[in-house]
Amino acid sequence: MNRRDEFEAMIGELDRCPPGLDAAVDRAHKKRRKRMLRMVVRPAAGLAACFAVFVLLVNFCAPVAYACSQIPVLKELAAAVTFSRSLTDAVENEYVQPMDLSQTDGDITAEVAYLIVDQKQVNVFYQLDSDKYKSLEADPEVLNCDGKRPASCSYHSTGFGLENGELRCLSIDFVDDNVPGSLRIKLDVYTNSIIHEQVAPDRAVEDIYSEKIYEEPDYLAHFDFLLEFDPKFTAAGKVFPVNQTVILDGQAITIADIEVYPTHMRVDIEESADNTAWLKGLDFYIETDWGMKFDAASSGIISTGSADSPSMVSYRADSTYFYEADHIKLVITGAKWLRKDMQTTYLNLVTGEHGELPEGAAFDSTRKQGSGWIVKFRAVWKEGIPMHQLFGHLFYDADGNEYEINQWSSTYGEEDEEGCITFFYNEFPLLNFPYDEVWLSPQYSHNWTAEDMIVIAVE
């Protein structure tokens, strides 16, 4: 058989399509519905997880470097990073530091299997296992080698509700400082039956919103890992200076620079003091000169704020790092603003009377619980826009005294007649707040969409 005959034979083999091929879309819809349901159920039945995520979100992280040793890329690691295009690219480019650190405390074993680390972010992939316990969760703590908490560092866990042995990710983000040469990761492990047990949603909500949430869980095991980073992974990223000022919705902002790391990109903004609104969100994407698009981050850390104002001044995006793009475009399509005269908004907890709410949000209900209130709003949701918090964590009484929201939950609304979900609920407790009137801190006042995309070339 010559080459041409071999080729024809191969083409012939390809013509036999299996009968199930035409149902691929149906299977995709079923799979998606199944995963959507899990997303709907988890916030309601597992608010403890939401609490943990919230607390950890206030502290989060990500990394940079180049090339690495030939390591076997495990299926589990590839599956564990699908939430992030940048981390997926890092795994595909074998930008992974294998660790193989294991500790056992009582009946529980913790293993740190891989790191994806760069100049600004550390992603720790670990697993928990036990023959005795299920539904294991870990409260992480990140420390320098001297036992002190790193400055300007925040962290965020993914993977609540995972089975024993599944890879979890702890992302540690250094906003201003660089990743040090080593870090200590402490994991306090407990079993979380709320996530896995079939608890009636209403009952779960009541339990979760009680003050009991502040009680420390009964920890079953404690682990303390020293992570030493290979210096080739913590090398500097690339910074593209931009320094271009654009007018968005009548407000002037300056794109200062774009930082490119293996795990993420940062678009750094400065804004004019004359603006009448603070920039709270930026809709954008990055495009290479050959037309490849990199989206703004939609999970984990999306943006970071400024100490001087409520503005968000650094925005995260999928990284072009592994694509060696020297010419990129920043394309801005919209923005989210908080008018400077809308820093707080009034709500009467008894009557529901309220001031201006974030665009697309509506008051739903309040109910008295214990020495405080549970407040519920609903807001427009559509595909591509993740559920988000409508209000900041600070609220005030009539005398201007400050209080803090440190729990919240978001749940999808019910499906409409066409089977679509068009809104979500935002619910949070005002603990130890006996008053009838409250002033909440809106996260934003309104959204703005550019009529013509604003394109900024970056060399």
Partner: protein
């Protein structure tokens, strides 16, 4: 893009997707799994596609990534190294199917899309995010290594 439009577009490209996956993976069941996963990912991410006319190349790109992921997984258990472009004699000694599998990844991507899935050079280039000239060069190199003389009509 509505679900109905999505279904229509998948319908129009599904056979090409399957042929692409089967050529990469060499197994019907793995190819079906890869197509299913690509369709699922496309369904979840369709709102990201800003220009629907690029749907075919976009979903093909997703599929190719799935195939590469699967090949990487297989490689752990059944190492099958790529041969370098200089190994003309070794390519020559292998059956075509085997030689194709051991092509350098960049060349293999082009050949599979061009001659087994039936994409044009322009579509292949767009799918792989490379210039059309690069796609043509890689096609020429790969055909030389495989000792295949294929006319343009094969790809139509």
């Amino acid at each position: 893009m509505s679900n109905e439009e999505f279904a229509k577009r998948v319908e129009s490209v599904r056979i090409r997707l399957y042929k692409t996956a089967l050529t990469y993976l060499g197994s019907e069941s793995l190819a079906m799994d890869a197509v299913d996963e690509a369709v699922y990912k496309a369904l979840c991410g369709k709102w990201k596609l800003r220009q629907t006319e690029f749907f075919d190349t976009w979903i093909t790109r997703i599929l190719i990534n799935e195939c590469h992921n699967e090949l990487r997984r297989q490689k752990r258990f059944h190492p099958l190294d790529e041969l370098p472009e200089t190994a003309a004699e070794e390519f020559d000694a292998l059956p075509l199917k085997e030689a194709l599998r051991r092509l350098p990844k960049d060349l293999k991507d082009v050949i599979i899309l061009r001659f087994f899935a039936g994409y044009t050079v322009a579509e292949t280039a767009r799918t792989l995010h490379i210039p059309a000239g690069t796609a043509a060069t890689r096609q020429r190199k790969a055909l030389q290594l495989l000792r295949l003389e294929l006319e343009e009509e094969v790809s139509s």
